[in-house]
Amino acid sequence: MNISVLRGRVVAVLMSFGLMSAPACAGEVRAAVASNFSAPMERIVALFQQESGHTVKVSLGSSGKFYTQIRGGAPFDVFLGADEAIPKRLEQEGLAVGGSRIVYAQGRLVLWSAQPGFVDAKGAVLYKDGYSKLAIADPRLAPYGMAAKETLEKMTVWNALQRKLVKGENITQTWQFVATENAELGFVALSQIMRDGKVTEGSYWLVPPGMHKPIRQGAVLLSGAKDQAATKAFLAFLKSEKAATVMRGFGYELP
């Protein structure tokens, strides 16, 4: 976890203390959020809490794990996933409110290295032999991992690179492998390396959208939601221009 995430969390907690004296209609939203969205979620939650007086409790993790937990009765009100498949499944199984599903963001895949100058702007580094480990998220579990696999298949190097692959359990762990340089490079989400519209460290290749199926991230209101009004307000806020501005700054596109 980097220090700005920690700082953001502290700010969110302090702000929610301030909001405890808010009007009696202040609700609470418990959100299960896919790890790739952690940084923009921070800012969006801060803005939402300020504007609406509701509080939001965020749990980060992998979509697959949240699906299993929600099936097991986990106490979440809203689920922000990394793909559309899991929110659809939740709707079909009656675990989510029908018709509440929205696509809140479209993710971009990048090939990133913590070392400046390692990754060229066209991704040609993948064809050469200058690295021993390439990190991707597990394609079975993470849409960004699936997109990475599709990209590598399109570049016809998927089979050749099997020996060099290290799979992260989720996109955050994948990023960790690359950030600690245990893997020289890896496929991560653009939002993980972009701050305020700029990539702050290392080198990267922004994978063109045609290389993989679009990473459309879906959100859904869960059937077990305690505070439906506050949660619906949050979902509406996700589609607002304020939230869109935040997301763009982290490299997400709006569908």
Binding site: T68, A135, D138, R140, L141, L165, V166, A183
Partner: protein
């Protein structure tokens, strides 16, 4: 269709057994002299050493695994040494998992053996000394046989603990089939991917196997399990 196990799953079984065996053997070699020292030492820093050895008991495995990832990575102290020796880096390798497992299960091996040595007391060793047995002879002919139950416990605990190891492997392994994808991580992956059939099969097999091994070991050691006084 879901419950068909892949070749990767069978590799995971083999890899788990290999890791547990290698770790247990290494631990016996490391833990025995350490336990002997802890049992007999009267140095002032004995308490400190005991605490350090017991540390993996209280550390969350993911924390241990994460710091090992940093330490053994190219930016860390250990990583720098392995790179200088032309060995590459340890994370994502079987050797790296062995290092993590040995550290993680250290107290499980040291403490039973230490307790066994302590419960022998000084008397049998002194008597052996009066019969002109040298230090090594005393250790091999007197201490080791009397400490057998302790060794058995250490072997069982170290083996079982490594088979069940998850947090350390998750942080350090990289989930590479045939190299670092052990059973616990494979089962976790199946659950996450909603392949419940495979998960049930592997998990059930693991429980059954562990139970049979433990049962077998306890039955086989029936006679020497009681510490005779």
């Amino acid at each position: 269709m879901e419950s068909v196990l892949t070749p990767d799953d069978l590799q995971a079984v083999w890899l788990t057994l290999k890791l547990a065996s290698v770790t247990t053997l290494l631990l016996l070699l490391i833990a025995t002299p350490l336990a002997w020292w802890l049992a007999h030492s009267r140095r002032w820093y004995k308490g400190l050493m005991s605490a350090v050895v017991a540390l993996p008991l209280v550390l969350p495995p993911t924390v241990l695994g994460f710091y090992l990832l940093l330490l053994m990575g190219p930016q860390g102290a250990v990583g720098g040494i392995t790179k200088a020796l032309n060995l590459g880096t340890l994370p994502f390798t079987f050797a790296g998992l062995v290092v993590g497992s040995v550290l993680f299960s250290l107290p499980f091996a040291v403490q039973p053996i230490q307790n066994a040595f302590e419960s022998i007391g000084q008397r049998p060793l002194e008597v052996a000394a009066t019969l002109r047995a040298g230090a090594w002879d005393r250790f091999v002919s007197v201490a080791l046989p009397l400490a057998r139950p302790g060794f058995l416990t250490a072997i069982i605990l170290a083996f079982a603990h490594t088979v069940g190891e998850f947090g350390v492997v998750l942080m350090l392994g990289g989930n590479i089939p045939g190299e670092t994808q052990v059973l616990s991580v494979a089962i976790y992956g199946h659950v996450e991917a909603m392949e419940y059939g495979a998960a049930h099969l592997l998990a059930g097999g693991m429980v059954l196997f562990s139970f049979l091994v433990l049962l077998g070991l306890y039955l086989a050691s029936g006679k020497s399990w009681r510490v005779t006084r």
